[in-house]
């Protein structure tokens, strides 16, 4: 028993001595939308490169970019482009954010499968989510109150939807706020009068995705840009990536990395 204890102690001490010898640790932080890609890519990257040490965190696009500006992360995941105010702050901190598009994301507008609605215009979706339209009969559906389901105000999907569809107008205050894409899908699936929006990867058979301006959301229409509610997903690095960070970024953009993005429900660039 005692011998085992000593052995363990020795092992621990050796590990303590050896660990710092590994390559520098790469910290990835930011958007919860990009998180699954970053997480999976980091895992596969570490499997391939035994010395690599990556740590991946969520937190949201704003948090990721702020961390990169402060120098507490190496790669910032973002589901939106960097804002001018953030860029200014980066400049004063002597940082040079470089954008890498790692995948495309289409935001699908979803309703309950029993809904009579199959298609809406972007204008109608905007009117529904800003509160000008609040009864389904106003857009040709079964009369009844529209239950609008939105994302929490700090989510990247919320911001992207606000920019792409709402033209930066305020969403209606009585929209239900859900904490994740899955929660929105589940709530819409259970609520006949609901309408919500989620990343393309979260559309399941329990809900119905709508045609927007006559275009059905799909990989093809998102990649070609025909589908109107489309956004690129970013990873930001400080300056052109070098060393291990460059290797990782190349991996994410490689065919294997893009396959990961596809598996996580986004649209790969290749």
């Amino acid at each position: 028993m005692k011998a085992i204890g000593k052995l363990l102690l020795l092992g621990l001490m050796m590990a303590g001595l050896v660990l710092p010898c590994y390559a520098e640790k790469i910290v990835i932080e930011g958007s919860t939308t990009v998180l699954p890609i970053a997480q999976k890519a980091a895992e596969e990257f570490m499997d391939m490169h035994s010395g690599a040490n990556l740590s991946v965190r969520g937190g949201g696009s704003s948090v990721g970019i702020a961390s990169m500006i402060d120098g507490t992360c190496d790669i910032a995941d973002a589901s939106r482009a960097i804002k001018d105010t953030e860029l200014d702050k980066a400049m004063t901190n002597g940082r040079d954010p470089v954008a890498h598009i790692v995948a495309m994301d289409g935001i699908a507008v979803i309703v309950h499968p029993s809904s009579r609605i199959n298609a809406l215009s972007k204008k109608q979706v905007k009117a529904i989510f800003t509160g000008q339209i609040s009864d389904w009969s106003q857009v040709g559906g079964q009369p009844g109150k529209i239950v609008a389901i939105s994302r929490d105000s700090s989510s990247g999907t919320y911001e992207a939807f606000g920019e792409l569809v709402l033209d930066k107008q305020k969403p209606r205050a009585d929209a239900l706020l859900q904490a994740s894409n899955q929660a929105v899908t589940q709530t819409v699936a259970r609520t006949p009068a609901a309408i919500g929006y989620v990343g393309l990867g979260y559309v399941s058979s329990s809900v119905k995705a709508l045609e927007i301006d006559g275009v059905m959301p799909s990989k093809e229409t998102v990649l070609s840009g025909k589908y109107p509610v489309t956004r690129p997903l970013f990873m930001y690095t400080n300056g052109q990536p070098q060393g291990a960070i460059k290797e990782f970024m190349d991996f994410v953009k490689s065919e294997q990395g893009q396959r990961i993005a596809e598996e996580e429900g986004f649209v790969g660039l290749k």
Partner: protein, 302 residues
């Protein structure tokens, strides 16, 4: 000489023990003061940019919008609304169970029932939330033909059930503290069981029961996970029980993770926490004062 030394040792030991235990006892005070300081320090920066009145009475909560709006009236009213609803559930259930346990239940029944009710308190709140989201909300939605089951009504019911053990347990203690002599005197005067209960026992335990209700309120207003999952999360001033609402706790829990450190939004969330803290603090002090008077009245404390 020798015995003197031993005496000295014992006295020193006693002093050390005394010190250790006073430190332990005062550590909660230390934490409390620490929390209050942090709450004030992190929330005050908000008020250099936003007036207190427009924070407390502002009707729109758009913390990430440009320009951001930080009006928390909808959140305050939502908290009060679901707490009021929870009271309507937990007071009759909690007090009713306490009366049954104390007055009617036999020893065997009481030995089984009381621990069972207290087990309700040990279920993690996320389990209640999940139950509310997956079972209760769809059920009520179909039953009452609501547009959406995630609303103040569902949240109130779940919160009410969660507060039952608090209310029941404290109210039952209060009833059991009523000296047997009170009852015996009442019976001796020819009052029946019901009359004794209504005219003697409940008035005697009255302040203990009020304490139970107030602690139930504290429990409901501070509950987070359940309202986050069940209340719907819409930051509007509630007009009916069937509206989705966003209580203060839910707003803090949902938004804190993604509010950039040091931003106005971050400070605003701390300000909400401060207000929530002050509200529960006041409730707890009132409960403490009432229960102290109660113990005094029954001659249980000096």
């Amino acid at each position: 000489m020798f015995s003197h030394e031993i005496n000295e040792m014992v006295r020193l030991k006693e002093k050390i023990y005394q010190w250790i235990f006073s430190i332990l006892a005062f550590s909660s005070l230390f934490f409390l003061v620490g929390i209050i300081i942090v709450l004030f320090k992190e929330s005050l920066p908000l008020f250099s940019k936003i007036k207190l009145s427009s924070f407390l009475f502002g009707k729109s909560w758009y913390p990430t919008f440009d320009p951001a709006e930080f009006g928390i009236l909808p959140l305050i009213l939502a908290s009060l609304w679901v707490t009021f609803g929870a009271l309507l559930v937990c007071v009759p259930l909690g007090i009713g169970s306490a009366l049954y346990l104390n007055e009617l239940a036999g020893h065997k029944q009481k030995a089984i029932l009381k621990p069972l009710i207290e087990i309700l308190a040990s279920i993690p709140s996320i389990v209640y939330g999940f139950f509310g989201m997956v079972v209760m909300a769809p059920f009520l939605q179909n039953l009452l033909d609501l547009p959406i089951g995630l609303c103040a009504f569902t949240a109130s019911i779940i919160l009410g059930i969660m507060a039952v053990p608090t209310v029941c347990s404290i109210a039952e203690d209060a009833l059991s503290y009523v000296p047997a002599a009170f009852r015996e005197a009442s019976f001796a005067l020819g009052a029946n069981r019901w009359q004794t209960l209504i005219k003697v026992v409940i008035p005697a335990a009255g302040s203990g029961i009020s304490t139970a209700i107030i602690l139930g309120i504290s429990r409901a207003i501070g509950e987070t996970m359940t309202v986050l999952m069940v209340a719907g999360g819409a930051a509007v001033i509630p007009k009916s029980f069937f509206d989705p609402v966003r209580p203060m706790t839910a707003a803090i829990a949902a938004e804190m993770g993604e509010a950039p450190l040091g931003s106005l939004h971050y400070h605003a969330l701390f300000s909400i926490a401060l207000i929530l803290f002050l509200v529960t603090f006041v409730f707890n002090i009132i409960a403490e004062l009432i229960s102290r008077r109660f113990r005094l009245k029954l001659g249980l404390a000096g």
